[in-house]
């Protein structure tokens, strides 16, 4: 009897936890406004052109948050969005973890029009240094 009640309690606990997990997880999967991306950068001050194009519905608020890196060389790690004709947003400079920066055009406008965008990234280490990996959260409207 005790075993049965314990199983029942276990089942109820698992159900509650499962529902909580669904509740917590659902917004991430359903809205999918944020995409975790990560890759590595070469050791020199080269622009890296990533292959994946993603659709941005337009407007302000597109951003990137640097969550981790293995130690970029130079003073900062820079990341930008680039559209199919090669127009690039300003390269956002990242010097610390956890900071979120909006993508802007060179004139300072936050309005990134609807289009397909690729990520480009570069280091600030003209003298060279170790290759490093990075990961963060890309937010597109």
């Amino acid at each position: 009897m005790q075993s049965s009640r314990a199983k029942s309690l276990l089942a109820r606990t698992a159900t509650v936890v499962g529902l909580v997990a669904l509740f917590v997880g659902a917004p991430v999967a359903a809205s999918a406004l944020n995409v975790g991306i990560g890759s590595y950068n070469d050791s020199y001050n080269q622009t890296l052109y990533y292959s994946t194009s993603r659709y941005h519905a337009g407007g302000s608020g597109s951003s990137f948050r640097l969550d981790s890196h293995t130690g970029f060389c130079g003073s900062s790690f820079r990341i930008a969005l680039r559209n199919p004709v090669g127009d690039s947003t300003y390269f956002s400079h990242f010097t610390s973890l956890g900071s979120t920066k909006n993508f802007t055009w060179w004139n300072g406008s936050l309005n990134v029009p609807a289009n397909w965008y690729k990520v480009t990234a570069r280091n600030d280490c003209a003298g060279g240094g170790p290759t490093f990996s990075w990961q963060g959260l890309l937010h597109l409207n």
Binding site: I37, Y55, P84, A114
Partner: protein, 172 residues
């Protein structure tokens, strides 16, 4: 006491599974986004791949449309490095522009068959291997604002996108 211990253990285990699943999902997103199994090519190597699009692409363009002859401006950065798959991305968006313009043109002259072909093509884009494998529309906005209205006859989203097809138009 024993029941409490079991319940706590169950909650901890379930929570751990839950957290593992969530962090696993994040890692999976990261893995299919921009790496980490990234390989790089020089601009020269990528240009060579670009020059072979006509021979290598499995995608069919609308009648009268050719593959691009002008390399993407990015390839003029001879110091840059290009992720493997870069040209595939260019090719897929060029193909989309070609079919979106074909749909708009066909609709403008009441070419029902042409419009039907155009709608079928852009609908297939959302099912394509490239689209799915690269998670290119993570918000679903392209599907909501361009594809779905187009399939119901509203081409406003398609027309707005065609206006952004600068690279495609440069090559016509």
């Amino acid at each position: 006491m024993k029941k409490k211990t079991i319940a706590l253990w169950a909650a901890a285990a379930a929570g751990s599974i839950c957290l593992s699943a969530l962090s696993g999902a994040y890692a999976a997103e990261a893995a299919k986004a921009d790496g980490p199994a990234t390989e790089w090519r020089t601009a020269e190597q990528t240009l060579a791949e670009f020059n072979e699009i006509g021979q290598t692409s499995q995608l069919a363009l609308p009648d009268g449309v050719a593959w691009p002859h002008l390399p993407p401006v990015d390839l003029s950065d001879t110091e840059g490095l290009f992720e493997v798959g870069y040209i595939e991305s260019v090719t897929n968006l060029y193909w989309l522009c070609a079919w979106e313009e074909a749909l708009v043109d066909a609709s403008a002259v009441a070419d029902a068959r042409g419009a039907s072909d155009g709608r079928a093509a852009i609908a297939s884009f959302a099912q394509s291997k490239w689209f799915v494998a690269n998670d290119v529309d993570p918000n679903g906005f392209w599907r909501d604002t361009v594809l779905k209205p187009a399939l119901k006859g509203d081409l406003s989203g398609v027309k707005a996108e065609v206006a952004n097809c600068g690279y495609f138009h440069q090559n016509q």
